[in-house]
Amino acid sequence: MLNIPLKDHFRETRIFGSRLTIMAGFVVVVMLVLLGRMLYLQVVHHKHYETRARANQISPVPVPPVRGLILDRNGIVLAQNYPAYTLEVIPEQVKDMKATLAQVGGLVNLSDSDLKQFDKLRRSRPRFESLPLRTNLTEEEAARIAINRPHLQGVELHARLQRYYPLGGLGIHLTGYVGRINEDEVSAIERSGKRAAYRGTLHIGKLGIEQSYESLLLGHVGVERRETNARGRSLHVVEREAPKAGDNLYLNIDARMQAAGEQMLQGKRGAVVAMDPNSGAILTFVSMPTYDPNPFVNGIDQESYDALLKNPDKPLVNRALNGQYPPGSTIKPFMGLAALESGKIDANDTVTCRGIFRLPGESRPYRDWKKTGHGKVNLHDSIVESCDVYYYQAAVTLGIDFIHSFLTKLGFGQATGIDLKGESVGLVPSREWRKARGENWYLGETVVTGIGQGPILVTPLQLANSVSILANGGRLMQPRLMYAHENPVSKERYYSQFSYKQLFTEEHKPQLDAIVEAMTDVVHGAKGTARRIGWNAPYRIAGKTGTAQVKSIAAGEVYDAEKMAEHERDHALFIAFAPVDNPRIAVAVIVENGGHGSSAAAPIARKLMDYYLLPEKMPALSKATVVTSQPNE
C-alpha cells in the first residue's frame, strides 16, 4: 500500500502560523522578563550596585602617622624615626603564598624568624591588609625587589618610618621601646575600640615612656582613597586625609646626667633615681645594666633574647622601678621622724649603745654594725653615726603598727604614681600582712624593721621620692618623667602638672628640721658616715648611708666581704638631697652587692648633685656613651 501523504499547504501554513505565533508570544514574554531584570538591576537596586562599583574602585589605604619623638629636657633625642625599606605582602592578592615567599626569598634574605613573624601576622590580621615580611632592606635588596615587582603580585616595597633609639641602651629603662603589635595587644586594641587608630600602624609602645604615653606618641591615622584596578594596583590618589603626627615628648631627664649615672654604675648592678624634690621631676632614672632596645623594634631573634634573659646581671629588669631592696640604714631618718612624730620619743632622749641589743627576757642578740657600740646617743647622733641599737629600741617603743602606718604615709609600700607602667610597690610589713599569710608577727621582726631589715622592701624610686619629703618640707610628690608634650605642627606645648600630697604642716617643721640637720651632719659632721663626700662640697648636702644585708649572718658569725660570693655581699645604699637650705635635687642610689653605702653609693650621688647644681661641671654627652647601632646594617 502506497501512502504518500499529499502536502496540504493550507494546513501546513495554519500549523506553522500558530506555532510561530506561540514563539512570538514566547519572545515577548522573555523580553518582558529581561526588561524586568534590567529594571531590577538598574533602577530598583541601582544604589546598591553603584556603591559596590565605587567600593570596587576606591580602596581606602590607611596612612600611618609619624610617631612622636622622645627628647630629654635639653632636646637631646632619645627616640626618633628613620625611613627604612619595608617589604610588605597583601595576602589577598597572592595566589600561591608558598611560591611567592620562595620567590622573595631568592631575592632578599628571609630569616626563619621573619617567616614565623609573618605567619603569625597572617593569622591575626585581615587578608586585605598589607603585612610586613622584612624590614630594613638594604638599597641593593630594595632594588632587586623593585626590578622583579611585575612578577611579584601582592608584594610591595614601602619606605616606612622605623623607630630608632640613637643612644642605644641609654635610658632604656625609662624610654622603653616599641615593638610589633602582638595578638594580645590586637585584642586589647579591639576591646578599647581603637582598632581604626592602629590601621596601618605595626608598632606599639611595649615598655617605659613609649608604653605609658602611647596615646600621645601614636598620632592620628590618615586615609588615602586610591583608585585601584582589579589587580589591586593603585592608580592615583583620589582623596587624602593627612595623618596627624604624634606629639613629641620632652622628658625631665637630663641625658648627660643619665649617661653619667650609667657610666658610674658601669659593670655593676644598681639603680639611681634623682629628682627635683619641689616638682617631682625625675632628672635621672638609671637602672644598670642596660641593653640596646633597637633589635626589639622588629622582633628580636630568640637567641639574642635568650642571652638577655639568661644574663645573671638581669639587664631586662628595671631596677629603679621594680627593684625591691631592704632599705637598710636609709630607713633611719624616716624612723627618726616617726619617733619624733609619735610623741613617745624626744630628740634629746638617749640610748646607751654597747653594740648589742636584747629584747627583755630573750637571749637573742641584735648586733650594732659597730661592735664596740656608739655609747650614749640621742636622735641626732643615731642618724649621724647610724647607730643600730638606738633604732632597735625605738622600733620596739613605737611598735610595728605605728611604724607601718607612718612609713605607709611616707609613701613606702605604695605606688608613687610615676608615669610608667608596672611599678613595684615594695613592702611595709604589718601584723595584717603576716596574718594574711597565716603567720604571727614576732617582736623580733619589729626590732630589725627599725634598721630597715627583715621583710621590709623599698624601690629606688620610693627612696628618692620619700627623701624628697624631707627636702621639700613635708610634701609627697608624684614623680614625673614627662616634662611636656608638644604638637609637632603648631609647636604648642602642654606641660605636665606636678601634684603632691602635703603630709606635714608648718607645726611639724621642727621635727623635719631635726632630721635634716642630722642628715647634714652625716655628710658634713666629723663623725658622719658619708663625710668622705662632704669635706670638699661647695654646697651642703643632707644624706644617709645604708648597707642592706642580703644574706643573714648567723649569730657569732662575722661578716667578711672577701669571703662571700659577690652576689651575697651587702647592697650599698645612699639617699641625699642638696643644697640643704634650698633643696633642688634629691637622689637615691643603690649598688647591688656594692658593700658599704658610704664608699660605693654616696660618691655617685655626689657626682650627680655636682652636675646638676654646678652646671659648669656637667659633662658633655661624650661620643663614647652615644651607642649607635646603625640602621640598615
Binding site: 506555532r19 514563539m23 519572545v27 529581561l34 538598574q42 585601584t228 582589579a230
Partner: protein, 364 residues
C-alpha cells in the same frame, strides 16, 4: 559604470534587515571602542571581520532557497565529519578541542553545525507533509543529537545546547503534537540528575555559582557579580560613553566579548538598553515576518528556526550578564568582538535574505 549600477541593482538583499544590521555594526564599534579601553585596532579588526561577514551574507542571499534544500544533507554530513575530525586531531584551544587549523585559519565545525542542524532538520521534516510523523521526528531527533553530543563532548555545553535548541525549534514549528511535547518535557525533567552526573566539574561549578554567585565571590561567581555591578551601577541614564569604570579598571572579565552588554548597560543605562532591545526586537520581528511569508515548508521552518535561535543567543547572553542564567560562553550576537560566530550569524541572515528575495509569486 552602468554595468556596476546594474550589478548592484541585481544584488538581492532585504532592505529593513540590512539597515538594522548596519546600525548594529555602528553600535558594536562604539561599544567595542570603550570596552577595549579606546583601542582603535580592536574596532578595526571587528570592522574587517564584519566586512567579510557582510560579503558572505550577501553572497548567500543570492543563492536560491531550493539549492539550500538540495545541499542540506551534504552540508550536514560534511559538518559531522569535521566534528569527528576535531575530536580526533583537534588542536587544543582553551583546554577544549574545538578547532581545526586549515592553512593558518581556525575552522570551528560547531559553527557550521549552527546552520547545518536546522537546515537538515527542516529538509528532513519538509520532505513529507506536516505535521511530521513520530518516526520522522525520531529520525530528526537523531540528526540533532549526534552532532550535539559530539559538540558537548568537546566540551562546549553552551554551543551544544543552543544547536540542540535550533533543531528542536524546527520540530516544534513543524507541528509536533502537544502530547509528545508534554511527554518529552517530563522525560527531560526526569533525566536532569543524569545530565548532572555526566557534567564536567567546571560546568557544575558554573551552575552552582549561578544559583548562588556570592558563594564564591572571587572564584566562579566573580564574573556574575562584577557584571551585575556594572549593569546595576549604570542606572537609568548610564555613566556615559567611555565611562564604564568596571571595564576600564579591569573588574569586568571578557568585557569585549561575552560581557560586552555589561559595558553597554553601564555606559548607556536603562535608556540605552531599551533602545538596544528594540533593535533586537525589530530584527527578530523581521525574521519572523520573512518566515511567515516564506513560500515553502523548508524555508518557513529554516527561517523561523534561525530567527528564534538568534533570539535565544540574545536571551542567553543578556540573561548571563544580568545574572538570571549561568555563565556560559555565548557572545552577544552582532555586538561582541568575535570571529567565526559573527560569520555564522551573518550567513544565517544571508539565508533569511535569500528566502525573502526569491519568492516567486509576489511583487513581480
Amino acid at each position: 559604470m552602468n554595468n556596476l549600477k546594474r550589478f548592484i541593482d541585481r544584488v538581492r538583499y532585504d532592505k529593513p534587515l540590512m539597515v538594522a544590521l548596519l546600525i548594529f555594526a555602528l553600535i558594536s564599534f562604539v561599544v567595542l571602542y570603550s570596552a577595549s579601553g579606546k583601542n582603535i585596532s580592536v574596532v578595526g579588526s571587528q570592522a574587517i571581520r564584519l566586512t567579510l561577514a557582510y560579503i558572505i551574507m550577501l553572497f548567500i542571499a543570492q543563492v536560491r532557497p531550493d539549492t539550500f534544500v538540495r545541499y542540506s544533507p551534504h552540508f550536514y554530513a560534511a559538518g559531522l565529519a569535521l566534528l569527528v575530525v576535531v575530536l580526533i586531531v583537534g588542536v587544543i584551544g582553551k583546554g577544549a578541542q574545538r578547532w581545526i587549523s586549515v592553512g593558518g585559519f581556525n575552522l570551528q565545525p560547531s559553527e557550521l553545525m549552527k546552520l547545518a542542524v536546522p537546515m537538515v532538520v527542516s529538509w528532513w521534516l519538509s520532505r513529507e507533509g506536516l505535521p511530521p510523523t513520530l518516526r520522522n521526528i525520531a529520525i530528526a531527533a537523531v540528526l540533532i543529537f549526534v552532532p550535539v553530543l559530539l559538540i558537548i563532548k568537546q566540551p562546549d555545553l553552551g554551543t551544544g545546547a543552543l544547536i540542540m535548541a535550533s533543531g528542536l525549534i524546527v520540530i516544534f514549528l513543524a507541528g509536533l503534537s502537544w502530547r509528545v511535547i508534554t511527554v518529552l518535557t517530563l522525560a527531560t525533567a526526569a533525566a536532569m540528575p543524569l545530565v548532572w552526573s555526566t557534567m564536567h566539574d567546571y560546568q557544575r561549578q558554573r551552575v552552582i555559582s549561578f544559583l548562588n554567585p556570592e558563594s564564591d565571590p572571587l572564584g566562579a561567581g566573580y564574573h556574575s557579580i562584577q557584571s551585575m555591578i556594572a549593569v546595576g551601577s549604570g542606572g537609568f541614564f548610564g555613566k556615559g560613553w567611555l565611562d564604564s569604570s568596571q571595564a576600564h579598571l579591569g573588574y569586568l572579565p571578557e568585557s569585549k566579548t561575552d560581557f560586552i552588554f555589561a559595558v553597554f548597560a553601564e555606559e548607556f543605562g536603562l535608556m540605552g538598553t531599551l533602545l538596544l532591545f528594540a533593535m533586537y526586537l525589530f530584527v527578530i520581528g523581521r525574521g519572523m515576518y520573512i518566515a511567515y511569508n516564506a513560500q515553502d515548508a523548508y524555508s518557513r521552518l529554516l527561517a523561523g528556526s534561525l530567527t528564534l535561535t538568534f533570539f535565544l543567543y540574545f536571551f542567553v547572553n543578556i540573561g548571563m550578564v544580568t545574572g538570571i542564567l549561568p555563565v556560559v560562553g555565548v557572545p552577544l550576537p552582532l555586538i561582541s568582538h568575535g570571529g567565526s560566530s559573527l560569520v555564522t550569524l551573518m550567513a544565517a541572515f544571508g539565508i533569511l535574505m535569500s528566502i525573502q528575495t526569491h519568492r516567486r509569486i509576489l511583487q513581480q
